[in-house]
């Protein structure tokens, strides 16, 4: 089975269609959550700072414009992971309310487990993305 990155909401579902993405975007706009588009080619789970595709769209109130930006990002970076985030600014929350992946590279080699031997017989573990063996910009190119 091909590796499927399970980060963000809906990640255990099959990838969302454009219609479904649009409906989610409409839901976010209805809740007054501005939307942001980000992309990265480093899928490590602790990589929380993806690169921003333009500024957060604070003044855009219609899903058509946001779908346009998502498609533009897909056109520019077809082999990167692209995610959509929605920020909830209400008091008591002030955090990302919804974040889901809208574009995946066609083939992700997945992760391997790295073991590091520390003092005594302690082993420290980490995950390592095989994609990051290649330099930035040359990952996921098949």
């Amino acid at each position: 089975m091909a590796f499927h990155l399970t980060q963000g909401t809906f990640s255990f579902l099959p990838p969302l269609t454009d219609d479904e993405i649009r409906k989610q975007v409409q839901y976010c706009l209805d809740n007054d959550w501005p939307i942001n588009v980000e992309f990265t080619d480093d899928p490590h789970p602790r990589n929380s700072y993806w690169e921003m595709w333009g500024l957060p769209m604070f003044d855009v109130k219609d899903p058509a414009a946001i779908m346009y930006e998502i498609n533009e990002c897909r056109r520019a970076y077809p082999n990167h992971y692209i995610r959509v985030g929605a920020y909830d600014r209400s008091k008591g929350r002030q955090t990302i309310a919804l974040s889901f992946i809208v574009n995946r590279p066609p083939h992700d080699p997945g992760f391997g487990l790295l073991r590091q031997e520390a003092h005594d017989r302690v082993i420290r573990y980490t995950v390592h993305s095989y994609a990051t063996d290649k330099p930035k910009g040359e990952r996921f190119t098949d």
């Binding site: 769209m57 003044d59 109130k61 219609d62 058509a64 414009a65 930006e69």
Partner: protein, 337 residues
């Protein structure tokens, strides 16, 4: 609501197609659709609050009727291509172009033609950049903000500056053209400006002209329409004319209309603001107890103090309305140096 899947590629009046069942007794009541959309109250408000503009109101009603019929068709399973609703408003300043554009956004929203019904009003500066590569992102940002609503471009002819080759207006126009054609159901574009300049603009950009379905002309207001507008404006702010003031205001308008830079309803609003200023001055100078009626009433003297009555007009000897103004206010020195 049933949706009939249409798989045939033949023409619209293919009665032999069993899916296009014209013999069914399905019907829809116009009054139901009307009530549901609540478009009547918007149209009525339009009638009451906007004076004159007969051709505009007729066109708006026609658009409303078409969109209602589209709704009825959809409810019976007939498909309907959304009509192109881009418009061009031409006319002198102060004739209500921006006001009607804002109403249009609400009306289209009530008819579910645009999703949000907000209006984004821009001029050339909001669309055109100052250096290469600046225009496209600027225009696209504006278009993204306007999606789901109405984009109102004021003084649209400034977009295309023929005399300056380094002008980037053409780029903005091209982006606009693309969006106007391909994203008709996401955005409605309304252009506005003076009639003759818009004509030149359309001639040099036939692409834009062909994408605009409704060319609406806003004529200058007539004297009686301006009077009604003045009274509506006053009533809105809880003022009113005294009977003499109304007559004097009519004389004022007659003179002002022929003076340069007359901007129809806007000039009327400015004149009323100045009259309020003079009324305030008069009341404060009067002192003592002032009744509510006094506070609400604009008297003739508040209007007569205008320089329109005292300013020398070059060809006033030929004008008969000077005599009329003289007869109304009784001052023999009006209109003479």
């Amino acid at each position: 609501m049933s949706t009939i899947p249409t798989t045939q590629t033949s023409g619209p009046d293919n009665v032999a197609n069993p899916e296009l069942d014209t013999s069914s007794d399905a019907s829809v009541d116009v009054s139901d659709v009307l009530e549901e959309s609540q478009v009547m109250e918007v149209l009525q408000k339009l009638d009451q609050e906007l004076v004159g503009l007969k051709s505009i109101k007729t066109r708006i009603r026609e658009i409303a009727a078409l969109l209602l019929v589209d709704r009825m068709r959809r409810s019976l399973g007939l498909t309907a291509r959304p009509p192109s609703l881009h418009m061009s408003f031409t006319g002198p300043p102060g004739t209500g172009k921006t006001t009607v554009a804002m109403r249009m956004a609400t009306i289209l929203h009530r008819l579910s033609y645009v999703r949000k019904g907000h209006l984004v009003a821009v001029t050339r500066d909001d669309l055109v950049g100052q250096y290469i590569g600046h225009t496209a992102p600027k225009t696209k940002e504006v278009l993204k903000r306007a999606m789901g609503g109405v984009l109102f471009i004021d003084e649209a002819y400034y977009l295309y500056r023929q005399e300056n080759e380094r002008d980037y207006g053409q780029e903005a126009i091209e982006i606009l053209l693309q969006v106007m054609e391909n994203q008709r159901d996401d955005l409605v574009v309304i252009l506005a400006g003076y009639k003759d300049r818009m004509e030149t603009f359309f001639q040099s950009n036939p692409g834009i002209s062909s994408r605009i379905a409704h060319h609406l002309d806003f004529p200058d207001y007539a004297l009686d329409e301006l009077l009604v507008i003045a009274q509506l404006m006053l009533a809105e702010q809880m003022y009113r004319f005294s009977p003499e003031a109304l007559q004097v205001f009519e004389a004022y308008l007659k003179r002002r209309m022929h003076m340069p830079r007359f901007a129809n309803a806007r000039s009327v609003r400015n004149a009323l603001d100045r009259a309020r200023l003079r009324q305030a001055n008069r009341l404060v100078a009067k002192g003592g107890r002032i009744s509510k009626t006094d506070l609400m009433t604009i008297e003739a003297e508040d209007i007569l103090a205008s320089r329109v009555f005292s300013e020398e007009m070059l060809d006033e000897e030929q004008r008969s309305d000077t005599e009329e103004a003289t007869s109304v206010c009784g001052d023999p020195n009006v209109g003479t140096k």
